[in-house]
């Protein structure tokens, strides 16, 4: 029965994807991509991948739409007209058709969903499942794999986020010579949603609750779905909500630029520093067992610290990107 729901939701997903590609109104495309993300999260959830679904939820619901709209404020509302020669069209169709048939052909050999004898369940997965409790002593296997067994990969991911943040900031955050703002422009910039009473009061009430939830996701990630990436996105959503309601200038007062830069670099540094500390204490890089006298306690400490590093970096990068867009749009 769950399979039927899954198939139906996947069909909706394909419809939405086609509509996004076809739509020439960019605002409609942004709204549809919001729906795409929601559908994606539901599909992940039905496949029992709660951690991934939570990431999709945190990024898709809170941050992605806001960033898309920030980009939209810098460009036009309509997709640019482009003409493709008929030959190019046929070539594109041919390439797409060939790729699609290859993928279909490959999928014929795929094992069924939930097949225990699938190759992916034969290699390291049984070892992870068997050793998470004795070695790391936490119930959430995903966190154990992500943070400890494959901690090196996750370190790479954090640096990818770090690099992406630097890339966006170096493209959008280039300092312009400050233009004198006229009255109406200053008004438009500062107004935000500050004069709308109901969103402001309700929204301001939500900010601490969202922050609290982010902290829960951050520090409870070993026991339930969650961890640094999700918590970082949720915390960034709380700050972005504050900036939307109170104005970008007040949001920047709350978390000034130097602090954001410190967060972006400091989180990644904390992660790498934990790895180095393990080396100095006589273990391998990112082998947390040496951090405390009891190996599993060391693992707990290590996971806590690296998840904190991930969370800080992700929060810093997302808020910096938001500010970079907002500042460009207000000029």
């Amino acid at each position: 029965m769950t399979l039927i729901f899954g198939v139906f939701l996947l069909i909706l997903l394909v419809i939405v994807a086609l509509a996004i590609v076809r739509s020439e109104d960019l605002f409609a495309a942004v709204m549809l991509s919001g729906i795409f993300s929601l559908l994606m999260a539901v599909n992940f959830f039905l496949l029992d991948a709660a951690d991934v679904a939570l990431t999709e939820a945190a990024v898709g619901a809170g941050v992605a739409t806001v960033l898309f709209l920030g980009a939209l404020a810098l460009t036009g509302k309509e997709e640019a007209r482009h003409t493709v020669s008929p030959g190019g069209r046929w070539l594109a169709l041919g390439v797409s058709f060939a790729t699609a048939s290859l993928l279909f052909y490959a999928s014929l050999e795929n094992p069924h969903i939930g097949d225990g004898s699938a190759p992916v369940h034969q290699h390291v997965a049984p070892w992870y499942l068997a050793n998470t409790l004795p070695l790391i002593d936490i119930p959430n296997v995903v966190t154990a794999v992500l943070g400890s067994f494959r901690g090196f990969d996750t370190l790479g991911e954090v640096f990818v986020v770090f690099t992406a943040g630097i890339g966006v900031m170096s493209i959008l955050g280039v300092r312009h010579s400050l233009v004198e703002l006229s009255g109406a422009e200053l008004d438009a910039r500062q107004r935000s949603l500050r004069h709308h009473l109901i969103p402001r009061i309700v929204g301001r009430g939500m900010v601490p609750l969202i922050m609290l939830f982010a902290l829960y996701v951050q520090f409870h990630g070993e026991y339930s779905p969650g961890g640094g990436f999700q918590a970082g996105a949720i915390a960034a959503a709380a700050i972005i909500l504050y900036s939307l309601l109170e104005g970008d200038d007040r949001g920047r007062e709350l978390l000034p630029e130097w602090l954001l830069r410190l967060m972006v670099a400091g989180g990644a540094l904390l992660y790498g520093g934990v790895g180095l500390a393990c080396v100095l204490l006589g273990g391998n890089f990112l082998d947390y067992s040496v951090l405390a006298t009891v190996p599993s306690a060391g693992q707990h400490l290590g996971l806590l610290l690296i998840e904190l590093g991930v969370g800080i970096t992700v929060t810093g990068v997302l808020i910096s990107v938001f500010h970079a867009f907002a500042r460009r749009a207000s000029r």
Partner: protein, 93 residues
């Protein structure tokens, strides 16, 4: 099982909201459709969590319930600032 009829009803509502988001015609139809789709997703996740016997997965529904409206607020601010800028540009000419 009470869960299946509920899920069917939710999926039907989601499909209807999706149809409104695809058809438009005005921007506000789409905004409302996305918001409604988000609400139905929260319900769908909550019902599925109980159906699968994993009520701890309610965290996900909670995350959506908490931050889903931020996108709508961003849309409102987007329209407002665009309106003000357009008015300012018209005055400038």
């Amino acid at each position: 099982m009470i869960f299946y009829p509920v899920l069917f009803a939710l999926i039907a509502t989601m499909a209807l909201a999706l149809a409104r988001a695809l058809l438009g015609p005005s921007l506000y139809d789409r905004v409302l459709a996305v918001n409604m789709f988000g609400t139905k997703t929260v319900l769908f996740l909550a019902v599925t969590a109980f159906m699968l016997g994993r009520p701890d997965f309610l965290d996900l529904a909670l995350a959506y319930a908490a931050i889903n409206f931020i996108g709508v607020l961003a849309v409102l601010q987007f329209f407002q600032s665009r309106e003000i800028r357009q008015r300012y540009e018209r005055q400038g000419r």
